[in-house]
């Protein structure tokens, strides 16, 4: 029943190409020496991840990813870079001194996770059916079953918005 892992099907080849783009640009995000370039590589990474969601038939999540991550979060990051007067161009001190330890920890994490995941899901296979992640089915699911967390989350988003405004305004003083 389960097809062999090799050779990959066309869907898997597209998925692997997109994930190579995602992982490569993520590596550039954490290694580049220019702050603005890191934000722009983040766009490439999030865009490729949206593509992988599309391959996995999660269309609605893919477009939400494009709208919120690529559209809003990266723009917020660029605003943050701009407002903190970060050096534009090559800067030497973007990395802290414990790079080597960080690399060791990251490689150890990757080794453990990849080993466990490959061992656990070697035979797991699912045929992809288009339409299961459409806006219609997902919207019905949100507003029928998950409506309480949805409303709680909207209140949380409002609270975060007000909190960000209060923190970033300078003319609001604390109580003496």
């Amino acid at each position: 029943m389960t097809p062999a892992l090799w050779p990959p099907t066309a869907q898997e080849i597209v998925f692997l190409l997109l994930s190579v783009v995602a992982v490569g640009s993520a590596l550039l995000v954490v290694t580049t020496r220019q702050l603005v370039h890191a934000a722009l590589w983040l766009v490439a990474c999030f865009g490729a991840l949206a593509g992988t969601y599309l391959v996995l038939t999660a269309e609605f999540v893919a477009w939400v990813q494009v709208l919120i991550y690529v559209g809003a979060v990266v723009v917020l990051m660029l605003f943050g870079i701009m407002l903190t007067r970060a050096p534009i161009g090559r800067t030497a001190d973007l990395n802290s001194g414990n790079r080597v330890i960080a690399a060791i920890v990251a490689i150890a994490t990757a080794a453990v996770l990849v080993t466990v995941v490959i061992d656990g899901f070697r035979t797991a296979y699912t045929p992809l059916e288009p339409g299961t992640g459409s806006a219609e089915s997902l919207g019905g699911s949100i507003f029928r079953i998950w409506v309480l967390p949805f409303e709680a989350l909207s209140v949380l988003l409002l609270a975060a918005l007000i909190g960000a405004i209060v923190i970033s305004r300078t003319d609001i003083k604390g109580r003496e």
Partner: protein, 128 residues
């Protein structure tokens, strides 16, 4: 689609995010690395939702919720970063050491972050 492909890609992205959080000095770059880790989790959620054929679409709905929480987190985080920058004129994580344990090495802001952190860990656990 084998589930092992998205799972391995998510594990790699998560590890890259771990490296970024530990190795970067600029606070905004650390926030970007946290976003990478959140995205790795999102990819896992979508893949397992598709694999398990959840009728309630729990995985994809949770992905949407995580995206919303990430947006709120970035908003609050950048507001805090801006407040720190306004007070200190610097957002280098290595120089924000006011809450660390008082050690003899931590007083001058050292350009090398590894050494004071190591001494702080060894002296912080013992009795004063």
């Amino acid at each position: 689609m084998h589930v092992v492909y998205p799972a391995v890609v998510a594990a790699l992205l998560f590890s890259i995010g771990v490296y970024g959080v530990l190795a970067r000095r600029n606070t905004i770059l650390v926030l970007m690395s946290v976003e990478l880790m959140l995205n790795a989790v999102n990819l896992n959620l979508v893949a397992f939702d598709v694999w398990l054929r959840d009728q309630l679409h729990g995985g994809q709905v949770l992905t949407l919720f995580v995206i919303v929480i990430a947006a709120a987190e970035v908003g609050i985080g950048l507001a805090i970063v801006l407040a720190v920058y306004r007070n200190r004129q610097s957002i280098d994580l290595d120089r924000l050491r006011e809450l660390s344990e008082p050690t003899e090495l931590s007083e001058p802001p050292s350009p090398n972050g590894a050494q004071p952190v190591a001494t702080k860990v060894t002296t912080g656990g013992g009795p004063e």
